[in-house]
Symmetry: C2
Subunit: 644 residues, 2 copies
């Protein structure tokens, strides 16, 4: 029997069957609920309150307090629908993705050198090309078939040229009509051969001269957000951009949760559909801005991590999660976008950057490709910080890469009041050294709702620098101030009293939170060390450190060094790349020769698994201090602390 569910506060409604899972129902209704574990019942994030009606759900002892249970709080993933329901959800995520649009801070220490200084100028010579051709109309003496007639016109008497190949029957079906309607004057859209002596391929024929209209889409398919750039491939200019939450997010926050969800019946298909839907939203958005049709886009260049790439293509990522962590493939086939359900002309190809390993994906290859690390003699450390921190070290001759599971702390996970970087998240923090009063800055300047990753770094470094937290990440016990107290999860500091918070309760940072952050930054730092040692180097050998990823934009470099997340090196060696994954797609769209050499990047990169590496474990244990057990690694931090 069908039941109606209303989700508060936004009053989204949906009709489901009795016995359906409440989390799945919410997802179906487009209602966002945190669900780190994909519905496994282990993360305890998906608390909702049943205001009216009845669900069937056991009390999940480790997550729900008995008062909560009595007040109708349940884990949505553990609840099945019994009657019509009114359900209150803890946080509603606006569909406009407004929070995605916050401006990056101008971090005081990241060098202000422009991207072009890092990457250099590039040509505009895209992997697709349009050519206007006048075809001889047929006569009885010359009644060569339409296609061969067109090929002849394209070759235009050039004997040395390779004859283009051509696409699928779909193109042939239209060709005779287009040629005649256009009075034998047409524009051919050609896909350049992958290798230099591989023939070009005609993928579409348009009536008349449309050579001035050549568009490409660069897409970064992130686990959390998907970003797209519409490019004019004649000029290389970015015409429009759009960012949207990945529609898969409601099925789990990280790649592991997504893999778990994909193993459910229909799960893989659902996840594929959702990311395709997100892609289509982005396509519609950028096309609307420039007033073109989605079918005017001639090429889609995309990059994503290994799991996102698998899911987009509908390939089961199951074995990525199981030791020895083997993806189905690392080089993805050039795919027809429309075949995946992407809103595109049937001929349009979607290219996905190759992965290196299960946890070093195409987004990293694209990032490395973006700033041409494979063409520079400079020894570079490339860092993308997130739940999985990916690290690459090397130069034009060699590259070694790895991924370290930093845990979700940088994305607000594993932190009592942690949240993603959205409205109300504390993103910056200062503390009065005497009164211990906080100065809190939130995204969108609202009352605080929680703490995002960059806020967490800010808070911890401040607490450490002011001396209220020691090198082990423990609060001093002699601080006689109401903001420091023994809480439910141990000692804590009150960032915001309930009256000042949006959630009606005190927002605190606990020693458990501190510990989780220290583990996360320790994993990253141990990753750098292990990787460098594997190639016989130290931090001093590095010519530059390039930070990539969305998170990188909001990191305060000094503070990141203070807590030991980044190495204590000359600040001028640090560069911020921005969204390297998207940038790689962009430069590949611009220049097919540059695009071709992406293969060199993936061939240069050798993966190293840290998960069962004893060296890594040693480094990791040593890094579980602020900033590190070995203070000689952090001389500037040592000096700063000494100067206090």
């Amino acid at each position: 029997m069908s039941k109606k569910i209303t989700f508060l506060p936004d009053k989204n409604t949906i009709t489901v069957d009795e016995g359906d899972n409440l989390l799945a129902a919410a997802a179906q209704a487009g209602v966002y609920i945190h669900a780190f574990c994909g519905g496994d019942g282990v993360c305890g994030k998906c608390k909702v309150r049943i205001k009216e009606g009845e669900v069937k759900a056991d009390r999940a002892a480790q997550h729900l307090k008995s008062e909560e249970y009595d007040q109708g709080v349940r884990l949505a993933c553990q609840a099945t629908v019994v009657s019509d329901l009114v359900v209150e959800i803890p946080e509603s995520v606006g569909k406009d993705g407004k929070a995605l649009k916050r401006k990056p801070k101008t971090t005081r220490a990241i060098s202000a050198r422009s991207l072009e200084a890092l990457i250099g100028k590039w040509d505009v010579d895209p992997p697709v090309e349009k050519r206007f051709v006048k075809v001889d109309p047929p006569t009885v003496e010359d009644n060569v078939p339409d296609l061969q007639r067109l090929l002849r016109a394209i070759k235009g008497g050039c004997f040395d040229c390779l004859e283009p190949t051509y696409d699928h029957p779909e193109m042939l079906k239209e060709l005779p009509f287009i040629l005649r309607e256009a009075n034998w004057e047409v524009t051919v859209l050609m896909l350049r051969g992958k290798r230099s002596r591989e023939p070009d391929r005609i993928i579409a024929v348009e009536p008349g001269d449309t050579t001035d209209r050549l568009y490409g889409l660069a897409v970064d398919i992130g686990t959390t957000t998907v970003g797209g750039l519409l490019m004019d491939l004649n000029t290389g200019k970015v015409l429009a951009e759009s960012t949207s939450y990945n529609g898969q997010i409601r099925y789990g926050e990280d790649v592991i949760s997504r893999i778990i969800y994909s193993q459910r019946s229909g799960g893989l298909k659902t996840l594929q559909d959702k990311v395709v839907h997100t892609l289509n939203d982005i396509i519609q958005s950028v096309c609307k801005k420039v007033v073109i049709s989605p079918s005017d886009i001639s090429y889609i260049m995309a990059a994503g991590n290994t799991v996102m790439s698998h899911l987009l293509l509908g390939i089961d990522p199951k074995f990525i999660r199981e030791s020895p962590y083997v993806p189905a493939c690392s080089q993805f086939p050039l795919t027809r976008a429309a075949g995946l359900g992407v809103m595109a002309h049937p001929s349009v190809r979607l290219f996905l950057y190759p992965s290196i390993a299960s946890y070093v994906g195409g987004d990293i290859v694209s990032g490395v490709h973006a700033f041409q690390m494979h063409k520079s003699p400079k020894i570079t450390l490339f860092i993308d910080i997130g739940t999985n921190g990916e690290i690459v070290v090397g130069n034009e001759d060699w590259m070694m890469c790895t991924a370290c599971s930093a845990g979700p702390a940088f994305e607000g996970g594993g932190v009592k009041y942690g949240m993603r970087a959205s409205s109300g998240a504390i993103e910056n923090f200062h503390m009065h050294p005497v009164t211990y009063d906080p100065m809190i800055v939130t995204i969108d300047r609202t009352k605080p709702r929680g703490i995002c990753g960059s806020g967490l770094i800010s808070i911890v470094s401040e607490l450490f620098e002011t001396g209220v937290v020691d090198r082990q990440g423990k609060f001093k016990r002699d601080l006689n101030h109401p903001r420091f107290r023994e809480g439910h999860d141990g000692y804590e500091y009150v960032l915001a009293w309930s009256k000042d918070s949006l959630i009606g309760e005190d927002i605190v940072i606990t020693e458990v939170d501190l510990d989780n952050l220290i583990r996360a930054k320790g994993a990253m730092y141990a990753g750098y060390q292990t990787l460098l040692e594997a190639v016989g180097m130290t931090f001093d050998d590095l010519d530059r450190i390039v930070l990539a990823g969305n998170f990188g934009a909001y990191i305060d470099l000094e503070r990141a060094i203070t807590i030991g997340l980044l190495p204590d090196l000359d600040r001028d060696k640090f560069f911020y790349l921005g969204n390297g994954s998207l940038l790689g797609c962009q430069i590949s769209l611009d220049d097919h020769k540059r695009f071709r050499d992406r293969g060199d990047v993936s061939r240069l990169m050798t993966n190293m698994e840290l998960s069962e590496n004893p060296e890594f474990m040693n480094h990791y244990m040593a890094a579980l201090f602020l900033p590190h057990t070995d203070m000689t690694l952090f001389p500037s931090v040592r000096d700063k602390l000494a100067g206090m």
Copy 2:
């Protein structure tokens, strides 16, 4: 409102809407009615009798006599359904295609040299290959992705080998599971690179060792019949064969009628569906015989004329019919069979032989390829006789080809009692020179129902040799015998009195029929002459004449020369190839190197249009005699007539 129609004599029934076309309804019901013109109303063949009920139909003055009209006879294509109907159709074609199985005669003059003598022996080395590989199971130290792991195993340490490419995501989706289920021992199905340095392509992966199971299908897609051979590609042996009427036949008998039908709304889709359905019938039939599954077939090699090729791929053949007769394309793309609706594994490719021009199709290229005409120094005249007679002359250095529209006489069209070569058709004829009594042999030895093409040649040559018909194809007027009489369409000879016929009326051959046959054979002969002249040759330069096509099997060589259909040359120069189109597909399946050189055939072949060629018209006018105006061209016929 829906109406029920019953077709007699087989009592097929169908429910249609009021106002529907009766011919279309019959086609939908699977009832065969002659319809040469695709429903245009011009051929007058589709006469049916309305026994009960009412249709709306004008009297088509040129086709229906008033008595017929009064008796309820109507042209089905001009009739729309008004009420429930009982409709009698003139001829019912059994669905078992029994008539297709008649045995070729051992024509006394066609040389009995075996096909192998003509073609030589060939290797078995097909365009697909299976390779059994043992893949190293992954470890943490070696966790290369599944696909790259498989590719590495296939290369097996060979550094010089090209790395295979691989198929679509569909294959990748299965790969991780197959590898693990099969304990890392699998068989890869590879498509060999088109060019010699093009990498092979993995199109499927099967668990375990299946290398002993490698099957291919050769298919000739004829306008009337579709024939298929299932081949064991490990041995080159033909395992099963099957022939079926082309399901498109109910929408028109010849390619022109099919083109006309394709221009109706939904017509193109219907025709594509019908031929695919026929192909599927053949696949099921051959697979059943050998007890394999259709998904075990690894490659489909097909050939058809240009219109059939367009229709199979769903490409509109519209412009083939309009001057200057331009097809959409001549080189067809290698297509996924399943994408067309063909019952095949999703990875299986369907190859279609390239066409040369609108009326010289892939069936001719395949035929020429079959006996390796492009590799022999012998000057050969290749002839395929049908509604469109296709002619090729040349050798290893050059080839010239053309098509001449002989009209439908060889297939029973344009002849008062003409019919296709099916049960009851007169296929052989002799006449007592004194009593003028006929000796009639029919297909299936039933009472005669009509005259098929080979019967027509037999009758005309006999009437001519016995002197009752003169060189202009006119009956002598002084033969006082009841079988010679003035009929409705002029002077005629009664082949069978009504009491002896299956159709309850006298079966006759008229001067109009004779004239139609003479025009048909004249067009063929003029075609040979025009083509030879275009290359500066005469019949004496020919080393051999190769006859192909189904019709060729039933031609009596002497009689064909007697009427002037074939040139009067040394009988030892004549070879009969059989179904060359099917044979070409067969040898291409057998040997990929032979398959690759098919391109040489189509490059060698130059097309010549006869339709507006004044030389052809001159030769044609001169050929409208038995055997020809110029008796020096037919010395053996002259001698035979003189010896009488």
